[in-house]
Amino acid sequence: MNFLAIGTEIAIALLMLIVLAADLLLPKDVSHRRIGVISMVGLAVILVYTFGQYHIGASPTFFGGLFFVDNYALFFKQLFIIGMLFTILFSLEYTEKLLRYRGEFYVLLLSALLGMCVMASANDFITTFVGLELMTVSFYILVGARMTSEDSSEAAVKYLIVGAASTAVMLYGMSLVYGAAGSLVFSEVCRNIHLFYAAGLAGVIMVIIGFFFKLSVIPFHMWAPDVYQGAPTPVTALLAMGSKAAGIAVFMRILYTAFPILGNFWLPLLAGFAALCMIGGNIMAIRQTDIKRMLAYSSIAQAGYMMVGMAAADLAGMKAVLFYAMLYVFANLGAFAVLTVIDTERGGTSRRDITGLAQAAPLLAAVMTISLLSMAGIPPTAGFAGKLYLFTAVVERGYLWLAFVGFVMSMISVYYYLMVAKAMYRDLTPEEAEYAAPVYVPLTVRAAVLVSVFATLGLGICPEWLASLTNAAVQTFMR
């Protein structure tokens, strides 16, 4: 038993318990910011620790190879930890003002993070399932965490029903794969030729459909806009970057290590659904007036872009997916930090609520614009470099049409992203003068948005640093 291999997970679980105990010890009427600070400090230490886990030789494993800590898993774990760390940073104020159960909120965030980290390392269906459920069950509660909002409870119910049903479909698929292949370990499944039998194929399809639900791929996306809109804003941010990236991490590992012999079946399927996502997500985002709902459709489109890289199914494609997932985290951090402040101060996230933000809080308006431009893929933001990697990878594999669809849809997406910028920067009419009143921006939010902007611009101007890290992560995939 190599307990060092699961050091990250043990540390997160311990941190979770410490936070839980601290919440119990703290009187109810005292500010709970210190609990947030404890979890942030803990996460920062764990983040530094994960850098030390990168390795060159054989990857450490745990539980007889069921838990696999290769550089690929480490990269995703760092992505989740960074996302969680900065989400807690910019939501301290929001949690304090709008949530009733503040201590539990941090505990559940950490348990969702634990689930994501387990997923990134999963090397068999049991570990995948346990990690996935730890994450989604935590998210069911987090989505409903805003006790005073009726939208929050409605979103939680919708998420629970769709999430549980998709889990059942995925599990049924896993059971069929297990019956056909005789094992739940990815590397054993891929060796078994019985996967070509009807039961095996049905199982593979159901597993893929289950993941499509989790990644909100069109046409399995109907839950996403409602849930994103109703959930507390920091939780929406985590759903968009953490939950989606975790799904992609484990989906990619399953496709490449458990089902590679069926590649001829699922590769065209993946390319088709990627195109559907990019087209549908971007078109439907245009007519949204609520920014969170718009970002939900935008995240459907972003999942489509990442699936383009998965459809390339080679090292360059994987590298592009990893790169894009990381820069999407930074873009999301900026956008949702701004939305969190707006939600706290103005009580909503519709396009009307961000009117005149350029006068009320110039920093936030600038950050929002840069983050959205990064999602659209405009140079010199990181989004441009990410899309360049994705599309070159897929063109080299012969999917020219897919890159073309992605390119056209990126251009269309600029429209609705800039509509948001227009709402923030346009001149105010005399009736709207109240919107020019300065908005209180806490210091923590300033720090979070500055980090996100520097990362977005920095990675756009010199993407080599992150590219070399993704290279290292991909080259040693499953080794």
């Binding site: 919708k158 029903i161 019956g179």
Partner: protein
Amino acid sequence: MISFVEMMHLALHVGLPHFLLLSAVLFAIGLFGLFTKKGIIAVLMCIELMLNAVNINFIAFNHYMPATDLSGQLMALFSIAVAAAEVAIGLALAFRIYHDHHTVNVDDLNHLKG
């Protein structure tokens, strides 16, 4: 066409196909109920049916497999635990939406749309 003798043989010896059929029927009933039922409690029961169908599948495959390694039964155990957690949260949310919306009818939850 199978002969009468073969049919009797099939009916008297319970084997893997019977379990798979049972689980497929259970799963289908659950899925059907998921789309047709309106109350959240009934919907949760249908999800539970689907998850139990999966458990039957895992255990049956595990039992009839040439080399037994028990991983299927292990998966069924995990799945039971997770299903319990999901239903616990589902019931808590049922209370919550009854408090917020004065209904447990899932179809009436239509404030969020666009």
